[in-house]
């Protein structure tokens, strides 16, 4: 179990080492979904939920793998569990909120290949977080991801209305905005120590 306090784990995951802006995890949906504020919020929520479930599952799987001494099964078991969780979320969303489900389109199943979820599971294993630390870590990461997504969507909505050179429109502009956001988040360094 790592020495880190729960507060520092949370702040670290959400702000200081934001998953998208510092670790480059979850970039595909970040650039794909962030064009509109509403879908961004929903995506953030979906990812946070999947992260929480994935974190708990990863913790349990890791206990099992340690018990049978099979570390080489880690990658394959993590990714299969994540894929199943996403299927579950998809089914739930289809039942509970069909409009959201349709709005998210292809991006919902794409959460499976969202590096952020697998990255979360792997980092938490590498840093040997205990159970409560893992939960807090997932909550922080989800919050951070949602925050970055919402900020990005807000800026991009405004950008769409501005006069941007043809060459820069789209992904290039989004990348530059992301770079500036990333620099901004570096200001959080040292928080939560």
């Amino acid at each position: 179990m790592s020495d880190a306090s729960h507060w520092s784990v949370f702040v670290n995951a959400a702000l200081v080492n934001n998953f998208v802006l510092a670790y480059f995890l979850g970039i595909c949906p970040f650039f794909g979904i962030s064009a509109q504020l509403e879908t961004a919020v929903r995506m953030g929520g979906a990812v946070s939920f999947v992260m929480l479930v994935a974190s708990v599952c990863a913790y349990s799987i890791n206990l099992l793998l340690d018990a049978v001494n099979a570390p080489y099964l880690r990658i394959i078991s993590y990714i299969l569990v994540i894929a199943s969780t996403v299927q579950l979320v998809e089914m739930l969303m289809r039942k509970l909120s069909p409009t959201t489900f349709r709005a998210m389109g292809i991006y919902l199943p794409l959460i499976t290949t969202n590096c952020a979820i697998l990255g979360l599971a792997l980092f938490q294993t590498n840093r040997e977080y205990g159970f409560t630390q893992a939960i807090v870590y997932a909550l922080g990461a989800g919050a951070g991801f949602a925050l970055a997504l919402v900020l990005m969507a807000g800026v991009r909505e405004k950008l769409d209305l501005a006069e941007v050179p043809e060459l820069v429109k789209g992904t290039a502009a989004a990348l530059i905005v992301a770079g500036i956001l990333s620099m901004g988040f570096m200001g959080f360094a040292g928080l939560g120590r």
């Binding site: 970039i27 290949t113 990348l175």
Partner: protein, 213 residues
Amino acid sequence: MLGKEISTTDEFVKGLWRDNPVFVQVLGMCPALAVSNTAINALTMGLATTFVLLMSGICVSALRNFIPREARIVSFICIIASFVTAVDYLIMAISLELHRSLGAFIALIVVNCLILGRAEAFASKNTLGRSVLDALGMGVGFTVALLWIGVVREILGSGSLFGVNLFPDTFQTWTVMVLPSGGFFAMAMWLLLVNRLKQKETEAEKQIQEATP
């Protein structure tokens, strides 16, 4: 149905420029930005991804008639995850240091949209030979793109290339380039360049079309 006559060389070359995974398809960006802070990291990541692309492409193509439609994605994920695990241990055996600097990102190759995307879009529908060429082309294109970003970031951000110092100690390194923001900026810069070149290409083609009646 019109059969597209794609020459075998074209199968390979398309991954390098026309359908470059990073700059055109905008796939697999996570690793492109995360591990490209030095050239050697970028190169290793590119080669590891190419290995997984190639091997999983071979398996998927060879087994394409054996895997029923409904079990596609699960099978692809299993195959890709196995090869990623394999490459993880191979890198650990070759160089502990390299493995440490890449960290969890080797394992993250499994969620590289590029690999699943190619397996689904191409390898599962084409012969072994073509799949190999496609995988190699995409892999090399990916590696080259990663190297572009990595070289720029390392030269500007650390003043070195592959660990070899290029400038005298008085060189003021542009540190932001090795930080995450630098990754975004470097990628944006190259993307702008690629867009400009492609724009010129289409303009030139249009001119030729208009010139010949």
